[in-house]
């Protein structure tokens, strides 16, 4: 996957991205620029409503930005449909498919990529192992606890080897103790898989635990460092 290139063009580059919701006076995301190098994890820290989730949605392609560009490895993907960007997203509430088992959820992206069955099974096992829920492989997702659900969500997003993984408050629905434990695990998993990631959170400790770099966001803008 990785191709040697100069530091300026590898990874994600967001330039002057702006999102204005219909009827809103102020833009939700206001001319944000951001760069994430390959293999790096960056956290966006800010209060709820500061536009961080909207920024993620615009990067992944769920929302079309009103201005600005999203590039990856120098390629402009601003107008590439979501499913062809190769970006993964872990939702705050997991968004697991209720009609599929744990393995069925993790396999979804691989099915979409038309991976052969044998290979797919192997990859699913690998990921369930990685996030530590192999024993639930054939369970319906409705039976899982909050922490287990988020593990499945993470495994599902990692399965198709996204070139960029976006994490939208992945731990905010969990209780404090579980949150700090999972944060550590998540950092290890991201490091082990060499995943380029952006984490959105309102929890300073979580941001520090998972990311190597933390940006603060407020009122649709990324605050200058310092």
């Amino acid at each position: 996957m990785s191709t040697p290139a100069d530091a300026g063009t590898t990874g994600l580059r967001v330039t002057d991205l702006t999102v204005v919701y219909p009827g809103a006076r102020e833009p939700a995301v206001d001319s944000v620029s951001l760069a994430v190098k390959r293999g790096e994890t960056v956290a966006l820290l800010g209060p709820s409503g500061c536009g961080k989730s909207t920024l993620l949605a615009a990067i992944v392609g769920i929302i079309a930005p009103d201005a600005g560009t999203v590039e990856f490895d120098g390629e402009d993907v601003t107008h590439v449909p979501i499913h062809r960007r190769g970006f993964g997203l872990v939702f705050q509430d997991g968004q697991l498919f209720p009609h599929r088992t744990v393995a069925g959820n993790v396999a979804f992206g691989l099915e979409m990529a038309k991976m052969p069955v044998a290979e797919r099974d192997k990859r699913v096992s690998e990921l369930l192992e990685l996030v530590g829920i192999s024993q639930y492989r054939d369970q319906p997702v409705a039976k899982l606890s909050g922490g287990e659900r988020q593990r499945v969500a993470l495994a599902r997003s990692l399965a198709p080897r996204p070139r960029l993984l976006l994490l939208d408050e992945p731990l905010s629905s969990l209780d404090a103790e579980l949150r700090s434990r999972l944060a550590g695990e998540m950092r290890d998993i991201l490091a082990r898989t060499g995943t380029t990631a952006i984490l959105v959170t309102h929890d300073q400790a979580e941001a520090n635990a998972i990311a190597s770099q933390v940006h603060r966001m407020e009122a649709g803008r990324i605050l200058p460092r310092g």
Binding site: I62, F87, Q95, F97, M112, P162
Partner: protein, 550 residues
Amino acid sequence: MTAPKARRVSPHLVWWGLAALPLAYLALFFVWPLATVMWRGLTDDGAFRLDLAAEALTTSHTLKAIGTTLLLAAAGTLGSVVLGAPAAYALFRLRWRGVGFARAAASVPFVLPTVVVAAAFSALVRRGGPLAWTGLDQSMWIIVAALVFYNTSVVMRIVGGAWAGLDPGRVSAARTLGASRLAAFRHVTLPALGPALASAASLAFLFCASSFGIVLVLGGSRVATIETEIYLQVNQFLDLRTAALLSLVQLVIVGITLWATDRARRARERSAPARRIDGTRLATRRDAPAVIAALAALLVINGVPMIALVERSLRSSSGYSFKYYRALAETPARGLLPEPVLVAAWHSLTVAAVATVIASVLGLLIAHLVTHRSGRATLLDAVMVFPVGVSAVMIGLGLLLTLNRNVVGFDLRASWWLVPIGQSLVALPFVTRTLVPAARAIDDRLRSAAAALGASPVKVWALIDWPLLARPFGVAVGFAAAIALGEFGATAFLARPDAPTLPTAIVRLLGRPGADNVGMAFAAAVLLAAVTGAIMFAAEHFRRIGEAEL
């Protein structure tokens, strides 16, 4: 919570005392007639003769009617889903200016009386109609079109409700995992809508399988279903046993469909998310083709027949005029009707008023009795749902076979009372379906609080239950009145020839050749639609005030 008080009357006694009224009503006017129908169908000279029954049922004539019923119902259901599901997306998933009005307009067909719908489609294809050249009059196709007209709104409401509550995040999740729009729809949206689609389809099938008035008017002498065959056997061949047998077959078909409907409904309730999500989104320019296509399709199937009906009610050989409306005040020539259509309309109003009072009072009583969930409440609730499944035709036939005689000292023979009784049975399930959830939604702690403050059970009902139930009751009364007024299935069997109701008068006029008769039928249908529409509008108004204040 309540202060200790010497109870003079056992509450159980009071409960059963109150329950006695609806139970007796149902036993006398529903269970007994139904049992009579079964008895008449399966026995001869007091002995079970299943061989005779089998013989009557396996004639090619009867088998054809059964086949036609199933075929029409299947085609009507298919058409309703094909049109209703995309419309659900455009009208419920998306938000756009005027969507509320479009939803309301698209729901109108369902509350129109069958006779009006039948007259409207007849206006399209009958001689002189804009589609007369197609030769579709008295064909299966025109009946299917009318069924689709009716049931698209059912499908649209049920599927739309589910679609509007679907978390859009799930589709986004699929998209980020590499699913195209189509793949995400197939793998995520469709499975999530499955239970709602199944529920809507089985309900549509139920309505399609018991659409007596539509088939009778549009099928003429060429298309016969089980229900029109029952009518024919009773009115022309006086073969009550075959009629009774056919209605048993109808009962089986409806029973199976009801069972499927109930299963689908339970599955839908199970799959509904615990917390209600607003999954609607603002329509963008890219959605315009979908919205326009849905609106155009709805407009064609819903609008064109109604326009044709109004147009033909105004068109006579000498140009456009209110000639047919004026004729409603005169007795039609050649003894076609014993009295002017307006007299029949007045008759309809009084009969419907009585039926509405009966259904409303019984419904309110039942809602009160089943408010607290318990074994006996579940039983009563279940018993009261029976009439939904049994089609109106069967209610009419049962009452005709049973009560055309002296009942406990009352001579009900050809009595005026049979008509409102039949209509009240048809309307009752709709009343309880509206009132029971409303009564159950009242927080029981309110009643406890009132009782703790010294209110007697009667006071609690008057000061807590009634104020909170008044609005749903208004809606239920409106429903009942609209249903009773447009009721045709039961009324067709019970109304005396010398005292027709508005719907039976319309069908009689439509059944005779002659531009004047047909023109009057169209004018009368417009009148019926207007009155029913006004009642439903008032009922909806009640509902809206209620919602605004919640």
